[in-house]
Symmetry: D3
Subunit: 136 residues, 6 copies
């Protein structure tokens, strides 16, 4: 009797897509306006999914207050109102594409969630562009 | 050639999270403000998913009008503008957490959907807290 | 050069529409399912608007953090996860219709906002039913 | 390390549900107001999902600009501001139910997406009625 | 103590923008793809606003159930799942632009609302194109 | 018979709130995390409102395609995927608060809209923080 629970949070950050192994021309050609030298930014909406058995004593898979606090401590306090490229350890050598941000958030949270429970991350970069990791 | 169809409905209800096997102190500690003695409430958004083959004569998996009527008859007429703890049989002895409400709605609808079709329930307690049953 | 700034917050509460001066029959006739004896509930979305001159030193009409804290202290801490009829002073003798809740919220906040600034309240009882006070 | 990326687009179209093998009476009985002789219409929201490995050089599963252009060229330029029954080849002999439109869009895009990547289509006919193909 | 109450409804319809006094060339030039010969369509979201005094006995400006029934009877039953140009009297000689639809809906409802109350109509043709009548 | 028409657009940008006349300490105290040295960012949603008479030949207040093109040319091409503080002339000496961005957008568009028509700007910095200029 497994249920998936979803918690939605958000953070606002600046970023720039740039591969330092490439020339400026190639970066501009591949990343277009996302390569803007002085950064641009987004309101990121983040949905964290935890899948597991329902605890019969509480009716909960995981206490949403606990999940929300974990997300704040390990993710949004790190990334909110930051420049992902300059202000975070995680994206010093990783391109902060939506795909990579979702993978990094999964790594940051995985160790804090019960190993018997599955964890999935959905990240909205805009209303029209979003990603999910791991893919089902 | 299986397609999943989704129908969104909603209902407004009062509820309280409380485990009668526990002391008041433990209930407050575990459920926090969701344990408020005089209840609180939500606008629940409900998404019912039916997965099956497309009928070549209609282009439908299931007639959305039929699905909508089933949800109204078996779910929302029961729960809408009610106190889940006091006014419903289903939550007399079951804690009305979002997880348990989704499981109960699945039980209420399962017998009315073609056994060859899969049924999934997503329930939004708020925009930021929601659950899905069964987990994929 | 007046600008209006809007801050959206929310709270979840139970309520019941009931006029004690009327018979049960008349209450049921007028308020329908909103008169349910054991209450029902809503996720209330609240938008607070403040209109005034922009401070040239900050670019702000009012600091959104300050406005958000005022709303939390004077409104949502009072009403969130409560039964409006039973748990609040404000609705002991006032019917907690959306209209009246908006008027009460305006009264609670008015004294904390600069008298040179205008204050308007929009309250969503559901996505499809909402009210604004004062009317323009 | 597979990630799913989602791109949301939209188009506005007229359509009519009608099975030419049936009498007018049976069509009206089965399709109800969706059978209206002179058509009706919708704002269709379309979400295209591509699942695959992340390219380590770009951090992308697929460039969202490329995906958006593919959707425009092969789907929305065909269907936007059109009458699906009269103005398109695809629905000359296929009933334009949401289920069938999703299957057709999958066929139109499948050949333009890397065969190692999975493709799923979600189509919103209204906010409350939507479909996904293939079902998971 | 005037409050504005808002009720959101919707309908789905086909339409075509075409001025019969003009040549086909001029129609195409002015209306572009909205001039498509075989019509296209929209999910129209409609918000009806009524502004007036709060009735102290009910806490209501107007009973939302009554308002919703008025909108159904006089507006959405007429326009839902219809071709506005062909199936309605109102747009036989009026171009069904969003502006004109809002004006027509105002005319249809005005006589059924208390003359002491103000009435405003907001009509969403898409999420990104909408109109309000009368302008404030 | 004045109608207001609304067109919604969006852009993504980085910014930083900082008053160069103040010390770093005062900037941090007043602007908090919005003062982050390396910028942060937002998905800005922009709603442009034009109020005027309906042209009886077209049923339009203003052609939405024309309005959309004006916004793209004069606003979003300037600001999208940019750092407002570093990449734009407009915010070289103006703090890019939501209030000031709305005022600047009004100035950029005002000269391109018919002087007989009114122009209002609503700018969403996030879903929960937004501003409107001029105030009504």
């Amino acid at each position: 009797m497994k249920v998936t629970v979803f918690r939605k949070e958000h953070f606002n950050a600046a970023h720039r897509l740039h591969n330092p192994a490439w020339s400026d021309e190639k970066n501009l050609e591949v990343f277009g306006k996302c390569n803007n030298y002085n950064y641009h930014g987004h309101n990121y909406d983040l949905i964290v999914e935890v899948t597991g058995e329902v605890n019969p004593e509480t009716g909960y898979v995981i206490d949403m207050k606990v999940l929300s606090d974990l997300i704040r401590e390990h993710v949004t306090d790190k990334f909110d109102h930051k420049n992902l490229n300059l202000d975070t350890e995680e994206f010093k050598e990783v391109i902060p594409s939506a795909e990579n941000i979702a993978i990094v958030i999964h790594q940051l949270l995985r160790k804090h969630i019960d190993p018997l429970q599955e964890l999935h991350i959905t990240l909205y970069e805009t209303e029209r562009n979003f990603v999910r990791y791991p893919a089902r």
